[in-house]
Symmetry: C2
Subunit: 343 residues, 2 copies
Amino acid sequence: MHDTQRPAVTISAIAAEAGVSVPTVSRVLNGRSDVSPRTRERVEALLRDHGYQRRGVRPEVVRSGLIDLVFNDLDSPWAVEIIRGVEEGANEAGASTVVSAIHRRGSPKSTRQWLDNVSARASDGAILVTTDLDSFLRAELQRLQVPAVVVDPAGVPDLDVPTIGATNWTGAVGATEHLTGIGHRRIGFVAGMPGLWCSRARLDGYRAGLDAADIPFDPELVIEGDFDYQSGFRAGCRLLELAEPASAVFAASDQMALGVYEAVRKKGLRVPEDISVVGFDDLPEARWASPPLTTVRQPLAEMGKLAARTVLRMLQGEGVESLRVELATRLVVRESTAAPRTR
Amino acid sequence: MHDTQRPAVTISAIAAEAGVSVPTVSRVLNGRSDVSPRTRERVEALLRDHGYQRRGVRPEVVRSGLIDLVFNDLDSPWAVEIIRGVEEGANEAGASTVVSAIHRRGSPKSTRQWLDNVSARASDGAILVTTDLDSFLRAELQRLQVPAVVVDPAGVPDLDVPTIGATNWTGAVGATEHLTGIGHRRIGFVAGMPGLWCSRARLDGYRAGLDAADIPFDPELVIEGDFDYQSGFRAGCRLLELAEPASAVFAASDQMALGVYEAVRKKGLRVPEDISVVGFDDLPEARWASPPLTTVRQPLAEMGKLAARTVLRMLQGEGVESLRVELATRLVVRESTAAPRTR
C-alpha cells in the first residue's frame, strides 16, 4: 500500500513528457549505457521533478515487452514445443517473443550480434535453450542486466543461472518398471550423448528400474547413442544381433526409439509383437509412429511457459525459489510395448 | 550516387540529437500516428534543419530491426521449418524475428493485442502463416504501413498480399507418376481439407498423373481427409477394405500418410511389401518413419527465407515482382514405395 494520496507518476507519463519511448525511460532507470547522455539527463530531471521513486525492494517494472528466446540451432526436435510454451507465457503478460538461432555453433560473431540486438531493443529477458551455453554469453547478459533463464531438456550440469529441466531419472525408472512389469528381463538401453546430465540420469534410472525387479545389470545391453535417429538405428541393430538379443529396448530419446523401429523392420521383425520399444520426450512424432510409441513425456511446452513466467518475475525483482527446477515427466503408454514372446 | 559532397545526415544522428530512438524517427518519417505531437514536431524540425531528404523513389530505410512472424497456432507441423527459414532470412539483414500465435482462433481480442504490439514496436514487417487470414488483419496492417507477406503452404485462394507457396499441382503429378511408373494402377488418394486451393491442386495433379498413364479415374479411390493423422488412418482403413483394394496410397500430407501406415499395420500388412505409401510436405517425421516415407518436399524453410527477404525489400520501397510466388516441390524417394505384389 502507498502511504501517500498523491497519485504515483507513471513511466509512460514520463516518457510522453520527455518525448521518448517507454523502453528508453526503462533504460535510464536500469542504468544502462545505451542511452544518449542528453536523453538520460532529461529523463532523470523529469523523474526527479515528479518525485518518481522506485518502490523499495520492488522497483517499478518497465518493459520493452520483448522476451528473447534463443536456440543454438532451430532444427532441434523440441523447438516448436518450447516456442509454443514461451509464447503462451509471454503472451499472458502482454509480452512478445523474439526467436533467434545463434547460428554457426560457437561463432563469437553471431553471439556478439545477438547480444547487440538484445541491448538495442532493451529486451526484458532472455530464455536460452541449449546444450552448450557458454560462460561468455552468461556474463554478457549479466552485464546488460537482462535476466536469463535456461530451458534445459538435455540437463547441462552446473549452470549458475535459473534452469528449468525435467525429472530425467524418475522418468527412466518409470519406463524401465513398465517394461519389467509386463515381463521383460532382457531390456536394452540406448543411452544419450555422453557428458550430459540427462544421459547420466536416464542411465541411472534404467539401472535403478532393473534393480527394483532384481534383474542384474548387463553392460552388453547398453549402447551409447547421441539422441539422433541414426544412432538409434545402429544401436537397435546391435541389440538385435546379440547372442541373447534384447526383447525390449528403452531409448533415451524418441528419435532414437524411431531408429530402433527401423532396425526392427529391417530385421523382418515387428514392434511390439517381436520387440517392445520405449522412447523419451513425447514429441508429436511419437503419436504418429506406427505403432504409436510408448514414451516418457517431457513437458516441454510447460517448461517454456514456466521459463517465460520466471524471467518476468525476475524482471520485477522477485527472487527465484530454486536455481534448478525439474518438472515432472510422465509415462505415456501407447502401442509399442507388449509382453515378451514366450520362447 | 549523391550529387553533393555534403555528407548525408543519418537517421541515427537525428535520433541522438532529438534524444529519441531510431524507431521513433522512423515512425515520424513514415507518418505513423503513434508518436507524441511534441516528439514529431522536434524530429521534423531537426530533419528540416539538417536538410534530410528521402531519396526519390527509394526512401531512406529506417528499421526497428524486428520482423513479426505470425501463426494461427503454434502446433502446425510446419511451424519450426518456417521459423527457421524466416529467422535465417531476417538474420542475413541483421533483423530479428518476433514469433506469435494469434491465440483462440478468430478472437478479435488477441488479433487486436497483436496489432497493438506490432504498432508499439514499429515492426518492420509481418509474415503471416495461415490458412484463414482475415481481411480485418490485412486492412489494419495496411493502415499501420507494415508490409505484409503470407507464407502459405496450404494455398489460400485470392489473397491480395504477396504470397509464397509451393507447386502443389506439379508435386502431385510427380508423386502419382512415380507410383504408376513402378507398376501401380489401383492408387488411392487421401485428399486434404476441402475448400483449400492446395487440396484442389493436389487432387488435380493426382488425376493428371493417372491420365498420363491411361488409368481411368475411380472416385471410390479418393477419400476426403483434413491433413491430420487420424483422418489418414480412417482413409487408409477404407482404402484397404475396398472390394478391389488400393495397392498404393498417395496422401496429401505426411501426417495423413503416417495414419495410412498405421492402418496398414493394423491390418497385419506391411509398407511397402503389401502397399506403397507416398506423402506430401517432407516434414522431419517423414525421414524418421519406419520405413522412411517417400514424399513430395515442400521447401518450407526456403519459403520462410524468401518471405523475410520479400518483406525487407518491400520495406525499402522495392516492388514485388509477383503477388503469388510458388517455389518448386520435389519428390523424395525413400523406402515406402515398391512395385505392387503380383497377384
